[in-house]
């Protein structure tokens, strides 16, 4: 009888206890000691694209580290498309679940960020610039760390890694002198080698990036790309791009009637000997592929001398995240020199760092310099100029236009 | 407790069974303890339906009327599990997942509660039909005659008030059939149980030695 009464009392009190937790003071990155204290014993559901085993392994390592250092448990929710996490947060908002959301941290950039920012689905105000490791970020030389596809990040997401469009080829099959040096060259290459080039089908991220690369090279006034689309001139602005594609498509792999699914699909086809030139957003991909036995060791990298697209990827926190403090701790750890160096190591991931190496302490600087990037990877100074990403509007519209024009191959 | 205490017999009172508006059979009879009533008839005459009705498991597509009582107590409408009627089919239907002893324990009336006594009674029942030492045997390894004897003992241990036999000898070869018939009829007589036997074999009817009822329009083809 007594136990029963205790049980009832507890059952009645339990929601009260819960709601007390719910109204606890707002998480503030500026008060870092408090963040660390709140974060202990929290579980962070990190929604991140899960299509790459080495990246998953890296996230697992980061999770183990923050677990042992700060008592934060990290669970990676592996997505096949980042937009799914956005969908989840939206579904929660539509159901009125404004706290205790199921997503704590999202690996994000570009149009997903723009959409979440526009819908007010992100934790705000500015938290990223208050992270202790923010001071190390290379904001001067990498403007993309604060402008995500031209959209100001306003501290609503924290940079995680840099990306640059890089091409790969097999020197056993293709001579270096035959390599194209611009989008126009690439068309000539395709004419000389029909069926040996393709790009992932938009809206795949890499495929759409290829369209943006071509557009950036061909558009009459590149400045327009930094602003939202002007409907009046859009047709004329993109005309060179689609004229180019109209010529290119019959020369593509499968005559443009099918496209590779994504980068790993292209990588496989380079290995199979179906494609001669492929490209990725990660300069170390070729070396990593060789190390994994997925690519022959004769694969090498190149870029266009006038520049290729470069951007930054970030982590963001949903407005209704359940473990905001834990998410902040993880975001800050991902920015630490130690985590960034591991990320740049091609044996582990191979993604260029977002930190300004010269701002780092001596010890970390030497360690970065000592990283062996592998024979197939270009050195940072060989990567050439980085072209800025167009405003996200362009990507959405070009994708739609692309599907309208090429969505039904005959 | 002796299985099957004395009764003044099984009363079948104007029992009629129909299917789709057609009457298959009408029957009134009294079967005294130890007596055998043999019901004969061609297939489709309703023999099996009669048996099912008496046993309490008639398919609802049949319509049935009449009264069944034993020792003055009415059995009409009583569920099968409360009728205490022992059934023997042409197949012994020993439960394949239980041992021989397990089958008999399954049959043995729950009124005997003590484990050791239940075991003793089952062992004795096996001895009675010359199957001593068969307690742990797999029923699948028994011969046809042995199975038939186990099936009989399983029914007898359940303390039935009457027996219903559905062509129980038709699958046995002639020597065995003779033995099994004798065993079953003498066991029933000794226990004082009224027996209803359904068969199409006239030799069964002769061996039973009781009244013979022929149902269905035609008596021979």
């Amino acid at each position: 009888m007594v136990t029963r009464r205790i049980f009832i009392t507890m059952a009645l009190l339990f929601p009260l206890v819960l709601s007390n937790i719910g109204v606890a003071r707002a998480t503030d990155a500026a008060n870092w000691d408090q963040v660390l204290a709140d974060a202990r014993d929290e579980t962070v559901y990190f929604n991140a694209w899960g299509g790459s085993e080495n990246i998953n392994a890296y996230i697992r390592w980061a999770g183990d580290e923050v677990k042992s250092r700060y008592g934060v448990t990290v669970v990676q929710v592996k997505l096949d498309d980042t937009a799914k996490a956005v969908t989840t947060v939206l579904a929660e908002k539509s159901a009125g679940r404004d706290s205790h959301g199921s997503v704590d941290l999202i690996w994000i950039n570009g149009e997903n960020f723009a959409a979440m920012k526009r819908q007010g689905l992100l934790f705000s105000p500015d938290w990223a610039t208050k992270l202790p490791n923010w001071s190390l970020v290379d904001i001067d030389n990498q403007p993309t760390t604060t402008r995500d596809f031209t959209i100001p990040t306003e501290g609503l997401e924290s940079p995680w890694g840099a990306a640059k469009l890089v091409f790969f080829y097999d020197e056993a099959r293709t001579a270096e002198k035959d390599l194209p040096d611009s989008a126009k060259d690439l068309l000539s290459f395709a004419r000389a080698h029909p069926g040996r080039f393709s790009y992932p089908q938009p809206p795949d991220f890499i495929g759409s990036s290829f369209l943006k690369q071509v557009l950036t090279e061909l558009i009459a006034d590149p400045e327009k790309l930094q602003k939202p689309i002007d409907d009046a001139t859009f047709e004329a602005d993109v005309a060179p791009l689609f004229a180019y594609l109209d010529q290119l498509h019959p020369l593509l792999w499968r005559k443009g009637k099918a496209f590779p699914q994504n980068y790993p699909d292209m990588k496989q086809r380079l290995a199979d000997g179906e494609l001669d030139i492929i490209f990725a957003f990660n300069p170390a991909e070729a070396s990593a592929g060789i190390a994994a036995g997925e690519l022959p060791d004769t694969v090498r990298s190149f870029v266009f001398s006038k520049g290729t697209l470069g951007n930054t990827h970030f982590v963001g926190i949903p407005y209704n995240a359940n473990a905001k403090a834990g998410a902040l701790v993880l975001a800050n750890f991902l920015l630490s020199p130690e985590a960034q160096m591991r990320k740049q190591d091609p044996k582990i991931w191979g993604d260029p760092t977002v930190l300004a190496v010269k701002k780092l302490p001596e010890k970390d600087r030497t360690a970065f310099a000592a990283l062996d990037l592998g024979a197939a990877t270009l050195l940072p100074e060989q990567l050439g100029p980085a072209l800025a990403e167009p405003h996200p509007d362009w990507m959405t519209r070009i994708e739609a236009e692309w599907i309208k024009r090429y969505g039904a191959a005959n | 407790m002796k299985p099957g205490s004395k009764t003044d017999g099984l009363h079948l009172d104007a029992i009629s069974i129909g299917l789709h508006g057609r009457t298959l059979l009408c029957l009134s009879a009294v079967v005294r303890p130890g007596d055998v009533l043999t019901v004969m008839g061609p297939s489709g005459s309703g023999k099996s339906a009669l048996l099912a009705y008496l046993g309490g498991f008639l398919d609802p597509v049949f319509t049935a009327n009449g009264r069944l009582s034993i020792d003055g107590s009415d059995l009409t409408g009583i569920p099968a599990e409360n009728r205490r009627c022992g059934l023997l089919f042409q197949d012994p239907l020993l439960f394949p997942h239980l041992s021989v002893g397990g089958n008999l324990l399954f049959g043995l009336t729950p009124s005997i509660a003590r484990h050791s006594q239940r075991r003793r009674m089952v062992e004795q029942a096996l001895v009675d039909v010359e199957l001593q030492g068969f307690f742990d045997r797999d029923p699948a390894t028994l011969s046809g005659g042995q199975k038939a004897r186990v099936a009989l003992q399983r029914v007898m241990l359940s303390a039935p008030r009457f027996l219903l036999l559905d062509e129980p000898f038709s699958k046995l070869d002639s020597d065995l059939r003779q033995q099994t018939r004798t065993l079953i009829f003498s066991t029933a007589k000794a226990a004082g149980l009224p027996v209803i036997l359904v068969t199409h074999d006239i030799a069964d009817a002769e061996a039973a030695g009781g009244r013979v009822v022929v149902i269905g329009e035609e008596t021979g083809r």
Binding site: G50, D272, G293, A409 | R84, F89
Partner: protein
């Protein structure tokens, strides 16, 4: 009577409510109602947007025709094979070959097929460069051919085993042998005799499963993604993309699209109903014509070969998946990898343990619950009592998953239901139950009821009879039904993803997520794991009776 009502009423509500509620959750946004992103008014605007989508017609037609063709081909194969071989040794040989295919997940079968028939696949390597002279793969559009033929082959290879097994389950209810003797005496060939005399009876028994196959094939996502055309992709694939689009306003479009998918599947069913009439008419003409067609060996052999080849496709596909999972560098046209490495397995193993455990727990729980419910239903003879219940049981299989699972997710959130394990088990149960009932009902009905009569005569109550006679004797059938349910649960993708909110990671959601990476080695490892897990269920189903009834000869057959 009241007892009967309890279980069937419970099942009725359990299955139909989530489907109907999910549909409502999809229909609302389609007509503009989704307050969270400013949808407060009733509008047809989203259907106009849908209609304006480029190449929508072609996407829809590809799905529709692939669904109808794949279902027809699977059914005709099963029909002709059963006609030609039922009761022969070849029949049981093919049966043993085909049955395990049921446990192979759709995604695994599709990847296997793709790795087999692609220009750089095993088939081409076998004949290159020797016969073809190719040193690099030819530039052929396979898979992803515009007509969806590869996708149809994949669907047939996966749906044929299902239809074959439901046919097997229905066979005992048709007096096949007697009918064959009769038609043979009249001079009819095996196939023609079967089609005229037995098929109509048999078809009536398997009609609901055929509609389930039709619904599945016309709305399939994972197989279409892997094998189907890409330009444009079949409607369900585009639908899934819209549902996941980062532009949140696309949710309205996605909901309108889901309704279109529903209409499409209903159109496929309407077509099928007409085809049934036509088939009946043809059969009538066939039987009226008096033509005997006594020599049908050619058709029989073709039917048998088609069954064997489609099964072989799946097995060879699994073999290729295995080869890729241990392959080092493996360039075209090498028939074998240059070296073998366990690295893909070693790398995957630490990550795969948790999903495998989740899968086994989830599948074990939902299959157990489904088995208990199925036993309850069958015990009370509910299924014989009403066709309505049978239909309701099939509802989650006949309404395309895409059309109601998403709405269900919104609803679950609106009710404040956490993405809990219990909720996920419940949703899995909806999909698992029909398969378990289907698997168990045939042996249940074939059970010799005289055992129960004997037991009742021995004074045992119905419950005692169930627990001490029927269930022990049906141990093997129950375990098999459990294994079937286990396999179904383990292979569920969309419901697990949406209801589990990405937090309940099963080996299947993991496999599909990783396949987005397109790395053949990782795909090989995960699809094999995904195939192995259900096989454990079947292994248990075949081993346990041996252990349990070691001394009971009759129970081991």
């Amino acid at each position: 009577m009241t007892r009967r009502f309890v279980v069937s009423g419970f099942v009725l509500a359990l299955v139909s409510l989530p489907v109907l509620a999910g549909l409502a959750g999809t229909i609302g946004p389609a007509f503009g109602y989704l307050p969270a992103i400013g949808g407060n008014s009733f509008t047809f605007e989203h259907f106009a947007t849908l209609a304006a989508q480029p190449h929508l017609m072609r996407s829809s037609m590809v799905s529709l025709t692939a669904g109808i063709v794949a279902t027809s081909v699977s059914l005709i194969m099963v029909m002709l094979f059963t006609a030609g071989y039922a009761g022969t040794r070849m029949f049981s040989r093919i049966q043993h070959m085909v049955s395990p295919l049921l446990a192979v997940p759709h995604a695994a079968a599709a990847f296997g097929l793709a790795f087999l028939v692609a220009p750089s696949g095993l088939a081409m390597r076998l004949v290159s460069p020797g016969l073809t002279g190719y040193t690099s793969p030819p530039d052929w559009l396979v898979p992803q051919d515009p007509l969806g033929l590869t996708m149809i082959i994949g669907l047939v290879a996966k749906e044929m085993p299902f239809l074959f097994l439901v046919t097997l389950a229905a066979l005992p209810q048709v007096p096949l042998a007697q009918t064959r003797h009769m038609t043979a005496n009249l001079g009819y060939g095996r196939i023609r005799g079967f089609l005229i005399a037995s098929w109509p009876l048999l078809y009536r028994q398997i009609r609901l499963p055929v509609f389930a196959v039709l619904a599945y094939a016309s709305s399939v996502v994972d197989m279409a993604m892997i094998l189907g055309p890409a330009l444009p992709a079949p409607l369900p694939v585009r639908l899934t993309q819209w549902m996941a689009d980062s532009d949140l306003r696309m949710r309205f479009l996605a909901s309108a699209g889901a309704l279109l998918q529903l209409v499409l599947t209903m159109a496929a069913m309407a077509f099928w109903l007409i085809a049934e009439r036509a088939g009946a008419f043809v059969l009538k003409r066939m039987s009226g014509s008096g033509i005997r067609q006594p020599d049908d060996r050619t058709i029989r052999r073709i039917a048998c070969a088609a069954m064997a080849v489609s099964a072989a496709f799946v097995f060879l596909g699994l073999l290729v998946l295995f080869m890729w999972s241990v392959a080092g560098l493996w360039p075209f046209p090498s028939l074998l990898p240059h070296y073998i490495t366990l690295q893909p397995w070693m790398r995957a193993f630490p990550q795969a343990v948790a999903p495998v455990v989740t899968t086994i727990t989830l599948a074990g729980a939902s299959a157990t619950a489904a088995l208990l419910l199925a036993i309850g239903l069958l015990w009370q003879d509910d299924l014989r009592a009403g066709d309505a219940l049978r239909f309701v049981l099939y509802l989650p299989l006949i309404v395309p998953q895409l059309c109601f699972v998403f709405g269900l997710q919104i609803l679950g959130l609106a009710l404040g239901l956490e993405a809990s394990f219990l909720l996920l088990i419940f949703v899995h149960l909806i999909f698992v139950l029909p398969y378990v009932v289907l698997s168990l009902s045939q042996p249940w009905q074939a059970f010799d009821r005289r055992y129960e009569t004997v037991a009742a005569g021995l004074g045992k109550s119905p419950l005692q009879i169930l627990l001490r006679v029927r269930l022990p004797m049906l141990t093997r059938a129950c375990l098999t039904a459990f294994a079937v349910g286990f396999a179904v649960s383990a292979g569920l993708y969309l419901p697990t993803l949406l209801i589990g909110a990405g937090r309940m990671v099963t080996i299947t959601t993991e496999a599909v997520a990783l396949s987005a990476g397109g790395d053949r080695r990782t795909i090989g490892v995960y699809t094999l794991l995904q195939t192995l897990v259900p096989f454990i269920g079947f292994l248990i189903a075949s081993l346990v009776p041996h252990l349990l009834f070691r001394d009971r000869r009759a129970m081991r057959i």
